[in-house]
Point group: C2
Chain length 244, copies 2
DNA sequence: GATAGATTTTTTGTATACAAAGTTGGCATG
DNA sequence: CATGCCAACTTTGTATACAAAAAATCTATC
């Protein structure tokens, strides 16, 4: 993700952006790069994101990076501390609970409408997503699995036709990825991927309520894999560790 | 530059900027000023928000204004069109439906937990908010009424203890204010304020399910006051108007 | 030898300057 | 007289420069 256009642009001083297209798409691409890196756990919670470094890597100035960082902060993927810069957010146990409770309410609540609106096309896309997820998990690529699972849930919600709630679900799924990265148990991860297929089948049969019940159990199962041990909190950390 | 922070201070009383004027709080105050103006319908949907003008009015440079505008855009209170700048968003009928459906799902779903957690303190704050709302509506100040109603719902959701869902509800309430500003019927507005009091009473008695039912009816009532006539969409507008 | 203060260095916050694109008005031509 | 093109003016997009604050390092004194 970090190689191709970066060096090319850095090496050419008079950057002609007419060819590459306007900066908006470029910014979107950079946003996606960072977002993906966070969701896939290549950037770990707590990692500092210095503006200069990012500007350097992506070959844009700090102005653009700041904008992207601000957006990521609003989606709670990074935290912006006033004079200390940006870092990948480390979700607290409370936040994790809130996020999964929210998902349970919204995603389950959406199932009846999804059942009403799902089309063979939607189902096919979702099944292929689920298949890809099972494949990469089978290959041991947990990062890709986490992201594909998030994408599955997000797209499923979008079938409901309610863009606002689908956006919420998408954001919650991104945050869930982060939570899994912190509290997740790699061993037990991915044993619930078959739920996704069962979910699609139920929805295609118009069984919205049973789909909601399954979704609820599914999210419970994911929650159950989390080991909710609150990690260290920077400063008190040292005291707790070295005082005993 | 010319008249620094005069309007900013007038519009946001109680915020202490201090002499050094911690920039963060100042930006927050400006954000609130613009946000309030939009929610209270002093800035009407479609109104253009030129960066220079705002920078001038609030006595900061365009940099800060852009940041605020971007945040407002993410909350869907303003729309940012690529080389055309910012304007107050004009919600479509579809968006309005989505927003109210979302509110119905989330706010109603939250009621049982709110009933479990509400304290006399919470109830008192909410009651005073409701009283203020009834008062200003009685005085004919619809703008303040809309904003106080939004604040009531937002705070009510926050009692649930789920910060994530409360944030969602807050955003939905802000957008609702905008929707009411476009599709609302001033005459029928505010006849449901008594629902708020009844809601608190039910919640204090621990009647979460009945509170959820009332909330559902309440939101239905608000929806019913909307006249869902899709307003003009710029270009086709002229054709439709002048072709007959 | 340790601690507190001061200095240096790094990093963010803000403003301004410059470039590109859009909009508007005027001018010329059919 | 209308229509299409061109030019100026306006407004946003981006980078850079400068200032302020926090972190780190060094020094001096107790």
């Amino acid at each position: 993700m970090n190689q191709p256009q970066t060096l090319a642009e850095r090496n050419s001083p008079g950057v002609r952006l007419g060819k590459n297209g306007d900066g908006a798409e470029r910014h979107e691409a950079i946003y996606r790069s960072i977002s993906d890196a966070i969701i896939e756990h290549r950037l770990k919670p707590g990692a500092r994101l210095r503006e200069d470094a990012l500007a350097d890597v992506f070959g844009v100035s700090r102005t653009g990076i700041r904008k992207i960082l601000q957006r990521l902060a609003m989606e709670q993927l990074v935290t912006l501390t006033p004079r200390r810069g940006a870092s990948v957010t480390r979700p607290t146990a409370d936040e994790a609970k809130d996020v999964f409770d929210a998902r349970q309410m919204i995603e389950c609540g959406l199932m009846p409408e999804v059942a009403r609106r799902i089309t063979p096309d939607n189902a096919a896309v979702l099944r292929s997503l689920s298949a890809r997820e099972q494949q990469v998990v089978g290959d041991g690529d947990h990062s890709a699995g986490i992201r594909l699972s998030a994408e599955f849930h997000s797209r499923l919600a979008r079938v409901s036709g309610n863009a606002t709630l689908a956006d919420f679900v998408e954001r919650l799924c991104f945050r869930s990825s982060l939570i899994l990265a912190v509290y997740g148990n790699p061993i037990r991860l991915g044993c619930e991927t078959h739920d996704h297929d069962a979910l699609i089948t139920l929805l295609e049969c118009g069984e919205g309520d049973r789909a909601a019940a399954l979704m609820s159990r599914h999210l419970d199962a994911v929650k159950a894999t989390l080991s909710m041990v609150e990690e260290e909190d920077e400063t008190p950390d040292l005291h707790t560790i070295f005082s005993c």
